[in-house]
Symmetry: C2
Subunit: 324 residues, 2 copies
Protein backbone atom coordinates (compact mmCIF):
# COMPACT_ATOMS: atom_id res chain seq x y z
CA UNK A 1 0.00 0.00 0.00
CA UNK A 2 1.06 3.58 -0.56
CA UNK A 3 0.30 6.11 2.15
CA UNK A 4 0.51 9.86 2.20
CA UNK A 5 1.42 11.01 5.70
CA UNK A 6 0.94 14.72 6.35
CA UNK A 7 2.94 16.01 9.28
CA UNK A 8 5.40 13.19 8.57
CA UNK A 9 8.21 15.06 10.32
CA UNK A 10 6.12 15.62 13.42
CA UNK A 11 6.06 13.71 16.69
CA UNK A 12 3.31 11.21 15.89
CA UNK A 13 3.56 11.45 12.10
CA UNK A 14 7.20 10.35 12.09
CA UNK A 15 6.36 7.31 14.22
CA UNK A 16 3.52 6.43 11.87
CA UNK A 17 5.91 6.82 8.95
CA UNK A 18 8.51 4.53 10.53
CA UNK A 19 5.90 1.92 11.37
CA UNK A 20 4.40 1.91 7.87
CA UNK A 21 7.83 1.58 6.29
CA UNK A 22 8.62 -1.24 8.71
CA UNK A 23 5.49 -3.01 7.52
CA UNK A 24 6.75 -2.74 3.93
CA UNK A 25 4.41 0.02 2.82
CA UNK A 26 5.39 2.89 0.59
CA UNK A 27 5.19 6.30 2.29
CA UNK A 28 5.04 9.79 0.86
CA UNK A 29 5.80 12.26 3.64
CA UNK A 30 4.40 15.78 3.51
CA UNK A 31 5.53 18.47 5.92
CA UNK A 32 6.28 22.19 5.93
CA UNK A 33 8.85 21.71 8.73
CA UNK A 34 7.31 24.59 10.68
CA UNK A 35 7.49 22.38 13.76
CA UNK A 36 8.55 19.07 12.19
CA UNK A 37 12.11 17.84 12.81
CA UNK A 38 14.34 16.37 10.11
CA UNK A 39 16.13 14.09 12.62
CA UNK A 40 12.80 12.33 13.29
CA UNK A 41 12.93 11.08 9.71
CA UNK A 42 16.54 9.85 9.84
CA UNK A 43 15.50 6.19 9.45
CA UNK A 44 12.83 6.97 6.88
CA UNK A 45 15.24 8.88 4.64
CA UNK A 46 17.36 5.73 4.38
CA UNK A 47 14.38 3.70 3.15
CA UNK A 48 13.90 3.58 -0.64
CA UNK A 49 10.14 3.29 -0.11
CA UNK A 50 10.06 6.74 1.44
CA UNK A 51 9.82 10.03 -0.38
CA UNK A 52 9.39 13.46 1.11
CA UNK A 53 7.55 16.55 -0.06
CA UNK A 54 8.35 19.80 1.69
CA UNK A 55 5.36 22.03 1.05
CA UNK A 56 2.38 23.81 2.55
CA UNK A 57 -1.07 22.26 2.89
CA UNK A 58 -2.40 25.74 2.12
CA UNK A 59 -1.01 25.20 -1.38
CA UNK A 60 -3.76 23.10 -2.99
CA UNK A 61 -1.64 22.14 -5.98
CA UNK A 62 1.12 20.68 -3.78
CA UNK A 63 -1.23 18.45 -1.82
CA UNK A 64 -3.20 17.50 -4.92
CA UNK A 65 -0.03 16.33 -6.60
CA UNK A 66 1.15 14.51 -3.47
CA UNK A 67 -2.00 12.46 -3.07
CA UNK A 68 -2.02 11.02 -6.60
CA UNK A 69 -1.59 7.27 -6.57
CA UNK A 70 -1.92 6.86 -2.80
CA UNK A 71 -4.24 4.31 -1.24
CA UNK A 72 -4.92 6.38 1.85
CA UNK A 73 -4.01 9.61 3.58
CA UNK A 74 -2.90 9.79 7.20
CA UNK A 75 -3.54 13.44 7.89
CA UNK A 76 -1.63 14.28 11.06
CA UNK A 77 -0.27 17.70 10.09
CA UNK A 78 -1.69 20.39 12.35
CA UNK A 79 -1.04 23.46 14.37
CA UNK A 80 -0.94 21.72 17.75
CA UNK A 81 -0.14 24.80 19.82
CA UNK A 82 -3.31 25.09 21.91
CA UNK A 83 -2.06 27.91 24.09
CA UNK A 84 -1.05 30.05 21.15
CA UNK A 85 -4.57 30.11 19.70
CA UNK A 86 -5.58 33.36 21.32
CA UNK A 87 -2.51 35.15 20.02
CA UNK A 88 -3.13 34.09 16.42
CA UNK A 89 -6.66 32.74 15.84
CA UNK A 90 -6.09 32.55 12.10
CA UNK A 91 -3.44 29.86 12.54
CA UNK A 92 -5.84 27.18 13.80
CA UNK A 93 -8.30 28.11 11.08
CA UNK A 94 -5.69 27.90 8.34
CA UNK A 95 -3.41 25.08 9.49
CA UNK A 96 -6.20 22.85 10.72
CA UNK A 97 -9.59 23.65 9.14
CA UNK A 98 -8.43 24.96 5.75
CA UNK A 99 -5.55 22.51 5.48
CA UNK A 100 -7.92 19.61 6.11
CA UNK A 101 -10.34 20.96 3.52
CA UNK A 102 -7.48 21.09 1.02
CA UNK A 103 -6.50 17.50 1.84
CA UNK A 104 -10.09 16.33 1.35
CA UNK A 105 -10.46 18.20 -1.94
CA UNK A 106 -7.14 16.81 -3.18
CA UNK A 107 -8.32 13.31 -2.31
CA UNK A 108 -11.64 13.86 -4.06
CA UNK A 109 -9.90 15.09 -7.17
CA UNK A 110 -7.57 12.07 -7.18
CA UNK A 111 -10.15 9.45 -6.20
CA UNK A 112 -8.38 8.63 -2.91
CA UNK A 113 -11.07 7.93 -0.36
CA UNK A 114 -9.54 6.68 2.90
CA UNK A 115 -8.43 9.21 5.50
CA UNK A 116 -7.10 8.73 9.02
CA UNK A 117 -7.17 11.92 11.06
CA UNK A 118 -5.65 13.07 14.32
CA UNK A 119 -8.33 14.83 16.31
CA UNK A 120 -8.04 15.59 19.98
CA UNK A 121 -9.67 15.35 23.38
CA UNK A 122 -9.41 19.16 23.33
CA UNK A 123 -12.24 19.14 20.77
CA UNK A 124 -14.50 17.92 23.58
CA UNK A 125 -14.21 21.22 25.50
CA UNK A 126 -14.89 20.55 29.17
CA UNK A 127 -17.06 17.44 29.20
CA UNK A 128 -19.35 16.58 32.09
CA UNK A 129 -19.22 12.81 31.50
CA UNK A 130 -16.16 10.80 32.65
CA UNK A 131 -14.62 8.77 31.25
CA UNK A 132 -15.86 10.67 28.19
CA UNK A 133 -17.29 8.51 25.38
CA UNK A 134 -17.34 9.25 21.66
CA UNK A 135 -21.07 9.89 21.99
CA UNK A 136 -20.80 12.66 24.58
CA UNK A 137 -22.88 15.84 24.26
CA UNK A 138 -21.97 18.45 21.63
CA UNK A 139 -19.31 20.47 23.45
CA UNK A 140 -18.91 24.19 23.92
CA UNK A 141 -15.47 24.72 22.45
CA UNK A 142 -12.99 26.19 24.90
CA UNK A 143 -10.04 26.68 22.53
CA UNK A 144 -9.58 27.70 18.92
CA UNK A 145 -7.53 24.55 18.50
CA UNK A 146 -10.37 22.32 19.72
CA UNK A 147 -12.86 24.24 17.59
CA UNK A 148 -10.71 23.80 14.49
CA UNK A 149 -10.26 20.07 15.07
CA UNK A 150 -14.01 19.61 15.52
CA UNK A 151 -14.51 21.56 12.31
CA UNK A 152 -12.16 19.07 10.60
CA UNK A 153 -14.14 16.16 12.00
CA UNK A 154 -17.30 17.67 10.53
CA UNK A 155 -15.65 18.09 7.13
CA UNK A 156 -14.44 14.49 7.14
CA UNK A 157 -17.79 13.04 8.17
CA UNK A 158 -19.61 15.07 5.54
CA UNK A 159 -17.17 13.86 2.87
CA UNK A 160 -17.87 10.30 4.02
CA UNK A 161 -21.60 10.87 3.64
CA UNK A 162 -21.48 12.95 0.50
CA UNK A 163 -18.57 11.51 -1.46
CA UNK A 164 -18.28 7.93 -0.16
CA UNK A 165 -15.08 8.57 1.76
CA UNK A 166 -13.92 6.18 4.48
CA UNK A 167 -12.92 8.22 7.52
CA UNK A 168 -11.19 7.33 10.77
CA UNK A 169 -11.00 10.05 13.37
CA UNK A 170 -8.90 9.59 16.51
CA UNK A 171 -9.45 11.88 19.46
CA UNK A 172 -6.14 11.67 21.27
CA UNK A 173 -5.32 12.49 24.85
CA UNK A 174 -1.81 13.97 25.16
CA UNK A 175 0.68 11.61 23.60
CA UNK A 176 4.05 10.86 25.24
CA UNK A 177 7.21 8.97 24.27
CA UNK A 178 10.29 9.39 22.07
CA UNK A 179 10.34 12.58 19.92
CA UNK A 180 7.92 14.29 22.32
CA UNK A 181 8.34 17.92 21.31
CA UNK A 182 6.22 20.05 23.67
CA UNK A 183 4.00 19.85 26.73
CA UNK A 184 4.45 19.59 30.45
CA UNK A 185 7.07 16.77 30.49
CA UNK A 186 9.15 18.76 27.98
CA UNK A 187 8.78 21.92 30.07
CA UNK A 188 9.61 20.19 33.35
CA UNK A 189 12.67 18.32 32.05
CA UNK A 190 13.93 21.48 30.39
CA UNK A 191 13.57 23.43 33.64
CA UNK A 192 15.30 20.72 35.67
CA UNK A 193 18.21 20.46 33.25
CA UNK A 194 18.73 24.20 33.65
CA UNK A 195 18.15 24.30 37.41
CA UNK A 196 17.93 20.96 39.25
CA UNK A 197 16.82 22.64 42.47
CA UNK A 198 13.54 24.27 41.44
CA UNK A 199 10.54 23.25 39.40
CA UNK A 200 7.86 25.84 38.57
CA UNK A 201 4.48 24.30 37.87
CA UNK A 202 1.81 26.33 36.10
CA UNK A 203 -1.36 26.01 38.15
CA UNK A 204 -1.89 24.14 41.39
CA UNK A 205 -0.89 20.70 40.09
CA UNK A 206 -4.41 19.36 40.51
CA UNK A 207 -5.41 18.88 36.84
CA UNK A 208 -6.24 15.27 36.07
CA UNK A 209 -5.14 14.12 32.66
CA UNK A 210 -4.79 10.93 30.74
CA UNK A 211 -1.77 10.23 28.54
CA UNK A 212 -0.88 7.61 25.97
CA UNK A 213 2.46 6.36 24.71
CA UNK A 214 3.10 7.14 21.06
CA UNK A 215 3.75 3.46 20.29
CA UNK A 216 0.35 2.53 21.71
CA UNK A 217 -1.16 5.42 19.75
CA UNK A 218 0.37 4.28 16.46
CA UNK A 219 -0.70 0.70 17.17
CA UNK A 220 -4.29 1.81 17.69
CA UNK A 221 -4.40 3.97 14.58
CA UNK A 222 -2.96 1.35 12.24
CA UNK A 223 -4.90 -1.50 13.86
CA UNK A 224 -8.25 0.16 13.21
CA UNK A 225 -7.55 2.28 10.13
CA UNK A 226 -5.35 -0.19 8.29
CA UNK A 227 -5.40 -3.80 9.55
CA UNK A 228 -9.05 -4.06 10.53
CA UNK A 229 -10.47 -1.19 8.50
CA UNK A 230 -14.16 -1.51 8.08
CA UNK A 231 -14.09 -5.31 7.94
CA UNK A 232 -16.18 -5.47 11.07
CA UNK A 233 -18.16 -2.36 10.43
CA UNK A 234 -18.77 -2.35 6.74
CA UNK A 235 -21.99 -0.41 7.09
CA UNK A 236 -20.28 2.56 8.70
CA UNK A 237 -17.92 4.58 6.55
CA UNK A 238 -17.07 7.00 9.33
CA UNK A 239 -15.58 5.99 12.67
CA UNK A 240 -14.52 8.08 15.64
CA UNK A 241 -12.27 6.50 18.27
CA UNK A 242 -11.26 7.89 21.62
CA UNK A 243 -7.61 7.05 22.27
CA UNK A 244 -6.14 7.24 25.74
CA UNK A 245 -5.01 5.21 28.70
CA UNK A 246 -7.57 3.54 30.94
CA UNK A 247 -6.35 5.78 33.77
CA UNK A 248 -5.39 9.38 34.51
CA UNK A 249 -2.90 11.09 36.77
CA UNK A 250 -2.53 14.53 38.29
CA UNK A 251 0.11 16.98 37.13
CA UNK A 252 1.70 16.76 40.56
CA UNK A 253 2.01 12.95 40.19
CA UNK A 254 3.70 13.39 36.86
CA UNK A 255 6.04 16.02 38.32
CA UNK A 256 7.11 13.61 41.02
CA UNK A 257 7.70 10.77 38.52
CA UNK A 258 9.81 13.10 36.39
CA UNK A 259 11.90 14.16 39.39
CA UNK A 260 12.37 10.53 40.42
CA UNK A 261 13.36 9.53 36.91
CA UNK A 262 15.98 12.29 36.92
CA UNK A 263 17.05 11.43 40.51
CA UNK A 264 16.30 14.98 41.60
CA UNK A 265 14.48 16.43 44.57
CA UNK A 266 13.80 20.02 43.54
CA UNK A 267 11.61 22.46 45.42
CA UNK A 268 8.22 22.36 43.71
CA UNK A 269 6.71 25.80 43.19
CA UNK A 270 3.03 25.58 42.40
CA UNK A 271 0.90 28.29 40.85
CA UNK A 272 -2.77 28.80 41.58
CA UNK A 273 -5.93 27.51 39.94
CA UNK A 274 -6.62 24.27 38.12
CA UNK A 275 -6.33 25.72 34.61
CA UNK A 276 -2.86 26.40 33.27
CA UNK A 277 -4.21 28.86 30.69
CA UNK A 278 -7.47 29.84 28.99
CA UNK A 279 -8.73 26.80 27.15
CA UNK A 280 -6.80 24.36 29.32
CA UNK A 281 -9.04 21.54 30.43
CA UNK A 282 -8.53 20.51 34.07
CA UNK A 283 -9.88 16.98 33.55
CA UNK A 284 -9.16 14.82 30.51
CA UNK A 285 -10.17 11.18 30.78
CA UNK A 286 -11.61 9.39 27.76
CA UNK A 287 -13.78 6.33 27.63
CA UNK A 288 -11.78 3.90 25.44
CA UNK A 289 -14.25 0.99 25.41
CA UNK A 290 -14.76 1.34 21.65
CA UNK A 291 -11.08 1.04 20.71
CA UNK A 292 -10.57 -1.71 23.32
CA UNK A 293 -13.41 -3.65 21.69
CA UNK A 294 -11.35 -3.86 18.49
CA UNK A 295 -8.71 -5.90 20.31
CA UNK A 296 -6.21 -3.10 20.79
CA UNK A 297 -4.86 -2.41 24.24
CA UNK A 298 -2.24 -0.07 25.65
CA UNK A 299 1.09 -1.57 26.72
CA UNK A 300 2.48 1.39 28.69
CA UNK A 301 1.08 2.77 31.95
CA UNK A 302 1.01 6.55 32.20
CA UNK A 303 3.96 6.45 34.57
CA UNK A 304 5.94 4.30 32.11
CA UNK A 305 5.06 6.71 29.32
CA UNK A 306 6.27 9.67 31.37
CA UNK A 307 9.49 7.86 32.27
CA UNK A 308 10.15 6.84 28.66
CA UNK A 309 9.64 10.45 27.60
CA UNK A 310 12.07 11.72 30.22
CA UNK A 311 14.67 9.17 29.11
CA UNK A 312 14.34 10.25 25.48
CA UNK A 313 14.48 13.97 26.29
CA UNK A 314 17.63 13.51 28.37
CA UNK A 315 19.26 11.54 25.54
CA UNK A 316 18.20 14.12 22.96
CA UNK A 317 18.89 17.55 24.44
CA UNK A 318 19.08 18.99 20.92
CA UNK A 319 15.27 19.04 20.94
CA UNK A 320 15.31 21.87 23.47
CA UNK A 321 17.52 23.99 21.27
CA UNK A 322 15.63 23.20 18.08
CA UNK A 323 12.51 24.95 19.32
CA UNK A 324 13.93 28.14 20.80
CA UNK B 1 -28.84 50.10 20.40
CA UNK B 2 -27.09 49.75 17.09
CA UNK B 3 -27.10 46.35 15.42
CA UNK B 4 -25.17 44.99 12.50
CA UNK B 5 -27.34 42.46 10.66
CA UNK B 6 -25.47 40.30 8.15
CA UNK B 7 -27.72 38.72 5.56
CA UNK B 8 -30.05 41.67 6.11
CA UNK B 9 -31.63 41.20 2.68
CA UNK B 10 -32.30 37.54 3.32
CA UNK B 11 -35.47 35.79 4.42
CA UNK B 12 -34.90 35.84 8.19
CA UNK B 13 -32.38 38.71 8.25
CA UNK B 14 -34.85 41.11 6.66
CA UNK B 15 -37.51 40.24 9.24
CA UNK B 16 -34.98 40.77 12.05
CA UNK B 17 -34.08 44.11 10.48
CA UNK B 18 -37.71 45.23 10.29
CA UNK B 19 -38.35 44.17 13.87
CA UNK B 20 -35.28 45.94 15.25
CA UNK B 21 -36.18 49.13 13.39
CA UNK B 22 -39.74 48.83 14.71
CA UNK B 23 -38.32 48.69 18.23
CA UNK B 24 -36.44 51.94 17.57
CA UNK B 25 -32.98 50.43 17.18
CA UNK B 26 -30.44 51.54 14.62
CA UNK B 27 -29.59 48.86 12.05
CA UNK B 28 -26.65 48.52 9.69
CA UNK B 29 -27.53 45.92 7.06
CA UNK B 30 -24.79 43.92 5.37
CA UNK B 31 -25.49 41.71 2.39
CA UNK B 32 -23.84 40.71 -0.89
CA UNK B 33 -27.27 40.20 -2.52
CA UNK B 34 -26.20 36.82 -3.87
CA UNK B 35 -29.53 35.48 -2.64
CA UNK B 36 -30.85 38.48 -0.73
CA UNK B 37 -33.75 40.44 -2.21
CA UNK B 38 -33.92 44.22 -2.31
CA UNK B 39 -37.75 44.23 -2.07
CA UNK B 40 -37.45 42.57 1.37
CA UNK B 41 -35.85 45.79 2.60
CA UNK B 42 -38.46 48.14 1.12
CA UNK B 43 -39.67 49.24 4.56
CA UNK B 44 -36.17 49.39 6.01
CA UNK B 45 -34.88 51.67 3.25
CA UNK B 46 -37.54 54.22 4.23
CA UNK B 47 -36.31 54.29 7.84
CA UNK B 48 -33.63 56.86 8.65
CA UNK B 49 -32.20 54.54 11.28
CA UNK B 50 -31.29 52.01 8.59
CA UNK B 51 -28.16 51.98 6.49
CA UNK B 52 -27.04 49.32 4.06
CA UNK B 53 -23.62 48.01 3.11
CA UNK B 54 -23.42 45.90 -0.03
CA UNK B 55 -20.23 43.89 0.36
CA UNK B 56 -18.73 40.45 0.84
CA UNK B 57 -18.01 38.88 4.24
CA UNK B 58 -14.92 37.42 2.60
CA UNK B 59 -13.61 40.98 2.46
CA UNK B 60 -12.30 41.47 6.01
CA UNK B 61 -11.93 45.23 5.62
CA UNK B 62 -15.59 45.65 4.67
CA UNK B 63 -16.91 43.78 7.67
CA UNK B 64 -14.38 45.36 10.02
CA UNK B 65 -15.55 48.79 8.97
CA UNK B 66 -19.22 47.81 9.20
CA UNK B 67 -18.99 46.56 12.76
CA UNK B 68 -17.43 49.72 14.23
CA UNK B 69 -19.74 51.36 16.72
CA UNK B 70 -22.27 48.53 16.85
CA UNK B 71 -23.52 47.07 20.12
CA UNK B 72 -24.06 43.61 18.70
CA UNK B 73 -23.92 41.58 15.51
CA UNK B 74 -26.76 39.44 14.27
CA UNK B 75 -24.88 37.19 11.89
CA UNK B 76 -27.50 35.56 9.68
CA UNK B 77 -25.69 35.70 6.32
CA UNK B 78 -24.97 32.21 5.03
CA UNK B 79 -24.95 29.91 2.10
CA UNK B 80 -28.17 28.11 2.97
CA UNK B 81 -28.25 25.83 -0.08
CA UNK B 82 -27.85 22.43 1.60
CA UNK B 83 -28.38 20.44 -1.56
CA UNK B 84 -25.77 22.36 -3.52
CA UNK B 85 -22.99 21.48 -1.09
CA UNK B 86 -21.76 18.48 -3.01
CA UNK B 87 -21.50 20.45 -6.23
CA UNK B 88 -19.39 23.19 -4.65
CA UNK B 89 -17.94 22.20 -1.26
CA UNK B 90 -15.87 25.37 -1.10
CA UNK B 91 -18.99 27.50 -0.89
CA UNK B 92 -20.05 26.28 2.55
CA UNK B 93 -16.48 26.61 3.78
CA UNK B 94 -16.15 30.15 2.51
CA UNK B 95 -19.61 31.62 2.96
CA UNK B 96 -20.22 30.03 6.34
CA UNK B 97 -17.01 29.03 8.15
CA UNK B 98 -14.63 31.68 6.78
CA UNK B 99 -17.29 34.40 6.72
CA UNK B 100 -18.07 33.74 10.39
CA UNK B 101 -14.39 33.81 11.25
CA UNK B 102 -14.13 37.20 9.53
CA UNK B 103 -17.14 38.49 11.46
CA UNK B 104 -15.62 37.35 14.76
CA UNK B 105 -12.24 38.87 13.97
CA UNK B 106 -13.88 42.14 12.92
CA UNK B 107 -15.77 42.18 16.22
CA UNK B 108 -12.61 41.45 18.17
CA UNK B 109 -10.78 44.26 16.44
CA UNK B 110 -13.61 46.69 17.15
CA UNK B 111 -14.38 45.55 20.69
CA UNK B 112 -17.90 44.39 19.81
CA UNK B 113 -18.62 41.27 21.83
CA UNK B 114 -22.21 40.17 21.41
CA UNK B 115 -23.13 37.89 18.52
CA UNK B 116 -26.39 36.17 17.61
CA UNK B 117 -25.94 33.40 15.08
CA UNK B 118 -28.25 31.37 12.86
CA UNK B 119 -27.23 27.76 13.12
CA UNK B 120 -29.38 24.90 11.98
CA UNK B 121 -30.91 21.56 12.86
CA UNK B 122 -28.92 20.29 9.87
CA UNK B 123 -25.78 20.64 12.02
CA UNK B 124 -27.14 17.76 14.11
CA UNK B 125 -26.74 15.24 11.28
CA UNK B 126 -29.20 12.41 11.82
CA UNK B 127 -29.81 12.38 15.57
CA UNK B 128 -31.02 9.30 17.41
CA UNK B 129 -32.76 11.25 20.18
CA UNK B 130 -36.20 12.82 19.54
CA UNK B 131 -37.17 15.47 20.19
CA UNK B 132 -33.47 16.36 19.91
CA UNK B 133 -32.08 18.48 22.77
CA UNK B 134 -29.19 20.96 22.63
CA UNK B 135 -27.14 18.42 24.59
CA UNK B 136 -27.47 15.57 22.06
CA UNK B 137 -24.45 13.46 21.12
CA UNK B 138 -21.75 14.90 18.86
CA UNK B 139 -23.19 14.25 15.41
CA UNK B 140 -21.67 12.70 12.33
CA UNK B 141 -22.18 15.51 9.82
CA UNK B 142 -24.25 14.48 6.83
CA UNK B 143 -23.94 17.66 4.78
CA UNK B 144 -21.23 20.21 4.10
CA UNK B 145 -23.75 22.84 5.13
CA UNK B 146 -24.31 21.23 8.53
CA UNK B 147 -20.56 20.72 8.97
CA UNK B 148 -19.87 24.37 8.21
CA UNK B 149 -22.53 25.61 10.60
CA UNK B 150 -21.17 23.40 13.39
CA UNK B 151 -17.71 24.77 12.62
CA UNK B 152 -19.16 28.27 13.09
CA UNK B 153 -20.67 27.25 16.42
CA UNK B 154 -17.24 26.05 17.54
CA UNK B 155 -15.62 29.30 16.50
CA UNK B 156 -18.22 31.34 18.37
CA UNK B 157 -17.98 29.28 21.56
CA UNK B 158 -14.18 29.46 21.53
CA UNK B 159 -14.35 33.25 21.10
CA UNK B 160 -16.71 33.39 24.08
CA UNK B 161 -14.23 31.38 26.16
CA UNK B 162 -11.07 32.99 24.86
CA UNK B 163 -12.07 36.59 24.22
CA UNK B 164 -15.02 37.16 26.54
CA UNK B 165 -17.59 37.25 23.76
CA UNK B 166 -21.29 36.78 24.50
CA UNK B 167 -22.69 34.28 22.00
CA UNK B 168 -26.22 33.15 21.16
CA UNK B 169 -26.53 30.28 18.75
CA UNK B 170 -29.93 29.29 17.37
CA UNK B 171 -30.35 25.92 15.72
CA UNK B 172 -33.35 26.47 13.50
CA UNK B 173 -35.67 23.95 11.97
CA UNK B 174 -36.87 25.08 8.52
CA UNK B 175 -38.42 28.53 8.81
CA UNK B 176 -41.63 29.45 6.96
CA UNK B 177 -43.65 32.60 6.39
CA UNK B 178 -43.57 35.78 4.28
CA UNK B 179 -40.42 36.18 2.10
CA UNK B 180 -39.82 32.41 2.17
CA UNK B 181 -37.36 32.01 -0.70
CA UNK B 182 -36.68 28.27 -1.14
CA UNK B 183 -37.68 24.85 0.12
CA UNK B 184 -40.51 22.46 -0.37
CA UNK B 185 -43.42 24.94 0.00
CA UNK B 186 -41.74 27.18 -2.57
CA UNK B 187 -41.20 24.22 -4.90
CA UNK B 188 -44.73 22.90 -4.51
CA UNK B 189 -46.46 26.25 -5.00
CA UNK B 190 -44.27 26.99 -8.01
CA UNK B 191 -45.18 23.65 -9.57
CA UNK B 192 -48.87 24.10 -8.91
CA UNK B 193 -48.92 27.60 -10.37
CA UNK B 194 -47.39 26.16 -13.55
CA UNK B 195 -49.53 23.02 -13.61
CA UNK B 196 -52.48 22.80 -11.20
CA UNK B 197 -53.11 19.16 -12.05
CA UNK B 198 -49.86 17.51 -11.00
CA UNK B 199 -47.52 17.75 -8.04
CA UNK B 200 -44.16 15.92 -8.12
CA UNK B 201 -42.84 15.14 -4.66
CA UNK B 202 -39.16 14.21 -4.22
CA UNK B 203 -39.07 11.04 -2.14
CA UNK B 204 -41.97 9.08 -0.72
CA UNK B 205 -43.51 11.92 1.31
CA UNK B 206 -42.72 10.18 4.59
CA UNK B 207 -40.04 12.54 5.99
CA UNK B 208 -41.09 14.04 9.29
CA UNK B 209 -40.01 17.62 9.80
CA UNK B 210 -40.70 20.45 12.16
CA UNK B 211 -41.16 24.03 10.93
CA UNK B 212 -41.38 27.41 12.57
CA UNK B 213 -42.95 30.66 11.40
CA UNK B 214 -40.44 33.43 10.81
CA UNK B 215 -42.28 35.77 13.18
CA UNK B 216 -41.98 33.20 15.97
CA UNK B 217 -38.34 32.71 15.04
CA UNK B 218 -37.57 36.44 15.21
CA UNK B 219 -39.46 36.69 18.51
CA UNK B 220 -37.35 33.90 19.99
CA UNK B 221 -34.05 35.34 18.81
CA UNK B 222 -34.67 38.86 20.05
CA UNK B 223 -36.32 37.66 23.28
CA UNK B 224 -33.25 35.66 24.32
CA UNK B 225 -30.40 37.53 22.64
CA UNK B 226 -31.68 41.06 23.18
CA UNK B 227 -34.47 41.47 25.76
CA UNK B 228 -33.40 38.84 28.27
CA UNK B 229 -29.74 38.48 27.30
CA UNK B 230 -27.73 36.87 30.02
CA UNK B 231 -29.75 38.49 32.81
CA UNK B 232 -30.84 35.08 34.01
CA UNK B 233 -27.68 33.25 33.01
CA UNK B 234 -24.94 35.69 33.82
CA UNK B 235 -22.47 32.90 34.45
CA UNK B 236 -22.76 31.51 30.94
CA UNK B 237 -21.45 33.62 28.10
CA UNK B 238 -22.42 31.11 25.44
CA UNK B 239 -25.94 29.84 24.86
CA UNK B 240 -27.30 27.41 22.29
CA UNK B 241 -31.06 27.30 21.70
CA UNK B 242 -33.03 24.83 19.64
CA UNK B 243 -35.79 26.66 17.79
CA UNK B 244 -38.71 24.82 16.32
CA UNK B 245 -42.37 24.03 16.77
CA UNK B 246 -43.47 21.60 19.47
CA UNK B 247 -44.71 19.30 16.69
CA UNK B 248 -43.73 17.91 13.31
CA UNK B 249 -45.55 16.94 10.15
CA UNK B 250 -44.86 14.71 7.18
CA UNK B 251 -44.11 16.09 3.74
CA UNK B 252 -47.32 14.49 2.48
CA UNK B 253 -49.32 16.40 5.17
CA UNK B 254 -47.74 19.63 4.08
CA UNK B 255 -48.47 18.81 0.42
CA UNK B 256 -52.12 18.33 1.22
CA UNK B 257 -52.32 21.59 3.22
CA UNK B 258 -50.73 23.44 0.32
CA UNK B 259 -53.20 21.96 -2.18
CA UNK B 260 -56.10 22.85 0.11
CA UNK B 261 -54.82 26.38 0.57
CA UNK B 262 -54.69 26.74 -3.21
CA UNK B 263 -58.08 25.01 -3.65
CA UNK B 264 -56.45 22.42 -5.92
CA UNK B 265 -56.70 18.66 -6.12
CA UNK B 266 -53.67 17.68 -8.23
CA UNK B 267 -52.47 14.16 -8.81
CA UNK B 268 -49.65 13.61 -6.29
CA UNK B 269 -46.64 11.85 -7.83
CA UNK B 270 -44.35 10.50 -5.14
CA UNK B 271 -40.75 9.43 -5.59
CA UNK B 272 -39.08 6.67 -3.62
CA UNK B 273 -37.07 6.67 -0.42
CA UNK B 274 -37.30 8.87 2.64
CA UNK B 275 -34.34 11.10 1.75
CA UNK B 276 -34.85 13.73 -0.91
CA UNK B 277 -31.10 13.98 -1.57
CA UNK B 278 -27.77 13.08 0.03
CA UNK B 279 -27.58 14.89 3.31
CA UNK B 280 -31.34 15.27 3.62
CA UNK B 281 -32.48 14.30 7.09
CA UNK B 282 -35.70 12.28 7.13
CA UNK B 283 -36.61 13.27 10.71
CA UNK B 284 -36.15 16.74 12.16
CA UNK B 285 -37.81 17.38 15.51
CA UNK B 286 -36.08 19.51 18.11
CA UNK B 287 -36.56 19.59 21.84
CA UNK B 288 -37.47 23.22 22.55
CA UNK B 289 -37.78 23.00 26.35
CA UNK B 290 -34.85 25.37 26.83
CA UNK B 291 -36.26 28.20 24.73
CA UNK B 292 -39.76 27.59 26.15
CA UNK B 293 -38.31 27.98 29.64
CA UNK B 294 -37.36 31.57 28.79
CA UNK B 295 -41.03 32.45 28.39
CA UNK B 296 -41.10 32.41 24.58
CA UNK B 297 -43.69 30.34 22.81
CA UNK B 298 -44.68 29.83 19.19
CA UNK B 299 -47.92 31.45 18.02
CA UNK B 300 -48.32 29.60 14.68
CA UNK B 301 -48.99 25.89 14.23
CA UNK B 302 -47.04 24.22 11.43
CA UNK B 303 -50.18 24.12 9.32
CA UNK B 304 -50.76 27.85 9.86
CA UNK B 305 -47.13 28.52 8.96
CA UNK B 306 -47.49 26.54 5.74
CA UNK B 307 -50.72 28.34 4.86
CA UNK B 308 -49.25 31.76 5.57
CA UNK B 309 -46.30 30.88 3.33
CA UNK B 310 -48.58 29.80 0.50
CA UNK B 311 -50.58 33.01 0.81
CA UNK B 312 -47.43 35.13 0.61
CA UNK B 313 -46.00 33.19 -2.35
CA UNK B 314 -49.25 33.56 -4.30
CA UNK B 315 -49.28 37.29 -3.60
CA UNK B 316 -45.61 37.65 -4.56
CA UNK B 317 -45.08 35.64 -7.73
CA UNK B 318 -42.03 37.82 -8.54
CA UNK B 319 -40.08 35.68 -6.07
CA UNK B 320 -40.21 32.73 -8.48
CA UNK B 321 -38.74 34.78 -11.27
CA UNK B 322 -36.08 36.41 -9.12
CA UNK B 323 -34.34 33.14 -8.51
CA UNK B 324 -34.28 31.63 -11.97
Amino acid sequence: MKYLVTGAAGFIGSHITDRLLGLGHEVVGFDNFSTGQRPFLADAYRNPKFSMIEAELLDPSAITEAVIGCDAVIHFAANADIRGGLASPRKDLEQNTLATFNVLEAMRESGVKRILFSSTAAALGEPTEFPTPETCAIPDQTSLYGASKMACEGLISSYCEGFGFEGYVYRFVSILGPRYPHGHVYDFVKQLLADPNHLNIIGDGSPKKSYLHVHDCVNAVLHTGDTLRTANQASKRYQVYHLGAPEYCQVKDSASWICNAMSLQPELRFGTGARGWIGDNPFVYLNIEKILSTGWKPTFSIRESVEDTVAWLISNPWIFESRE
